[in-house]
Symmetry: D2
Subunit: 284 residues, 4 copies
């Protein structure tokens, strides 16, 4: 039996759940897990269904056409993905080691359901980390001046490797709007601050100066407005007056890597639906 | 439209979700929320459905008969409850003020969907708290020796007031097996320790002596084995070597009341299914 | 023996600790607890000392003069307070019940080392709460237009009752700069958001719209810039996409009251030193 | 200037702080940080002092003799350690990767103030992890039967490398009483459960069966009673009914490694004093 994850969103309407589940039942599919949510404010309906099928559904044109039609009767959209099909991922880094290590370790222990195709960087600093795990390390000496020239080369590389998801693991370059548009909802960034506080550079310095008593990290999809993309996961830890900016940085690293890895896992599990700049992140 | 909560559990089987949702759809009921869970280890299926109905379902005998039949086809059990029907609650206390206050305040602000009929105690100590909120305070001078004599009087009182849920808010008497059996799955206790550690009396002293770095509280249904009932909610807070037993007690109080109130809310929302001594607590 | 708390801050310098502790020893005072902190960035030194004395120190002019001199040799400042001397507090409220309840309950159970002299409000809504605890409830119908007229009456009342600390427990009026200056470092406010995010009105609405995955609360000293005062305590709790703004409000209340009460306790215990818009909050 | 950490414990007595700080001042030492604690229950006094010295103190016999004498006047004990002197550590492992990775990564980034001399195991499984970081990996095929024969070889190896601290990073063999005695207070173990609950094997299975709503990890010094040694650090995370034992294991790993690393850091920073089976862990 093959496992599939179906995501669906539409305006809320009476009978959606019954109609969709009934239709799936008629197709001889077994629902093994299901979670839905209605957002009162927008009257929108969201659903995630995990099904078992005896046949390959993605390649079954009739099935896809019927599913699409069903969605249209509710003015909604379905997406479907084979559960064990691995996404191809590229990790973009600059100099922070911990988030990169965490992704590579969990990739290696099969705790991340993906294939990490490459680590890509504007520096050579983390080459030895990628090599420890036998992952190709590609350096593109990109900066603010040569971005329009180098970025197309990066995109070409990503396309050649059929990259499905880009993970910015403390990557210190800003992606162009064109790049972001091309990989819409396919770029996850970790910000080392509790957004929407402390946007931009040096969030821990900002946090120190404001004298906050907790510091945090935020993983989000990248949009063209810096640190404004839809939040996927967040976490914080308590600090106190004895923490210097450096202490905050060290403490924050333990949070950042987990927040990022959890966001990536949610994406790879097809547990996220985007709606109006916010995320519905289904449970597990 | 009237709102109902349906709980269901049965051995897991293909097509349950589709069949139940399809049946509800045919009865002209609108599913507004639904959450299910399959426990791999026992191959059991659990579901909570919130529906809207134009008619009173509890009084509709045919509906109840059909629903029961449907459950039986899966060797499962349904329960159904009108969402805004308020449970009658009795709070049992001895001398701790905070959990009692929390329940009474949230009852008064309509954050607890129930009717608190009485506060019942083996002492007079908290009479003034109950009176502040105009809740009857009944004292039964029960102790280990006269339990067999006094407990029937308590039960009689509970029956007269049609009590649906008993909340032990740091009640310092042990209920008899007969009492517990009579109110099976209808008694929630707060234990001021992180169960299964620190069962029994003086959990904070035990915690101090063991030198733990976190203390917690546990709300659970009461069974005949002390502090062994199914856990509903738990929480902890960090402490350190500077905490004396007294500091732990003070700090713990802030956790206890929230853990207890959250457990009571889950029960009143019909979000809990019991299975093999464990709880499935659906989200919200 | 009488217990005193001494706070001290000065530029950091070699030998401060030894000199101060040695001097106290010579005065026949027993140091029972001591905590110090050096802020690397500003090279400033902070210390809190708890001592036992056979004599009344506050009334001992010579002692105070000598202590002040000692501080001046380090270009620093001492403050000293009798540990069991209770501050007179006024709680300002509008319509939120929980933070007010929490303060009144803990005041009543002697968990807050102060005397709550009054609850003061721009509305009548919480009169019944104050009355439950026999605390005078004073209503001043202040608003944006009549502030310059009414505020002096409030100040007069506070002065008559020798108020040492003002607690804004979700008080919905902005205090004038004159008022704030008069009670500098003597006004604690609870903000129902994780500052510096979500300043101003309706922080939970802002949080919902940004789609954050955690919500929090912040207690801070009041300054003339809205929600910019030195932070004393903060806490957060995890939420998810199922939380409406209303759910956030309800969930947030459980955090707000504890964050506020903890901040007030820290102030009453003389555990806070202010420095450059940040707080040093000594342990306990 | 050289930095030293001094730990001291003794029965509590008037004037200790002043006398010790005064003595240090006379030795021309600058106190840069100081934290003390009095345990009410046992009337014991604990202190940690960080000092700067122009001279090497450890090699100064007179200084050590005088310090010891000073301690004896209070029936107490001093220990002193050069702050930047690195401990030699050995990490014992079996098959869990994450805690080992965390220690090796933070060792490599200089976030752990020690020299990891070797990874030692009863299996070959983690050889490749140690090799990634160029740390020698030693395999001793120890088991319950050959322990009395193999353990002396292990001890010999540890002695040859002058190991100061042994870190059991999910090492699946029980050390003999003789071994434990030899390295008293020098062996830190991570237990993947919230002690004192869930001692022994398979704590997550126990946790699943009890139906707890939080799981945790505990780092402690090893004594001869299994999982009964003094607790250094603990942490927990919330779970719910959807977590299988396997999910708990995966989730727990993120906690275990941080709890262990934090305990090791506290030990290496000389921040821990043991007393009656409990730890005083000074701040930072």
């Amino acid at each position: 039996m093959k496992k599939y994850v179906i995501l669906f969103k539409s305006p809320d309407r009476r009978g959606i759940v019954a109609k969709i589940t009934g239709w799936l039942f008629k197709q001889n599919l077994n629902i093994i897990s299901m979670e839905e949510h209605v957002e009162d404010k927008s009257s929108y309906f969201f659903m995630r269904i995990v099904i078992l099928s005896a046949f390959d559904l993605n390649e079954n044109k009739d099935f896809i056409i019927e599913l699409t039609k069903l969605g249209q009767t509710f003015e909604g959209q379905f997406s479907i993905k084979k559960s064990n099909k691995k996404n191809n991922c590229a990790i973009f880094v600059t100099k922070e080691q911990l988030p990169l290590y965490d992704l590579l370790i969990k990739h290696q222990t099969n705790d991340l359901n993906c294939t990490i195709k490459m680590v890509l960087s504007n520096h050579m600093l983390l080459k030895n980390v990628a090599e420890k795990f036998n992952i190709p390390y590609l350096r593109f000496p990109i900066n603010m001046r040569n971005k329009s020239e180098i970025e197309p080369q990066i995109i070409k590389t990503l396309e050649e490797h059929k990259i499905d998801l880009i993970i910015l693991a403390r990557y210190m370059q800003i992606l162009s709007p064109k790049f972001v548009k091309k990989y819409e909802q396919k770029i996850i960034n970790i910000h080392h601050g509790f957004l929407p506080a402390f946007k931009g550079a040096r969030p821990y310095r900002q946090a120190w100066e404001r004298g906050v008593k907790m510091i945090g990290a935020t993983a989000h999809y990248v949009t063209n407005e810096l640190d404004e993309g839809p939040i996927i996961t967040q976490d914080v830890t308590s600090i106190n007056h004895t923490y210097s900016e450096k202490d905050m940085i060290r403490t924050g690293k333990d949070i950042e890597r987990i927040v990022l890895t959890n966001a990536v896992q949610a994406h790879l599990d097809n547990r996220i639906i985007l709606h109006n700049g916010r995320t519905i992140v289904f449970n597990r």
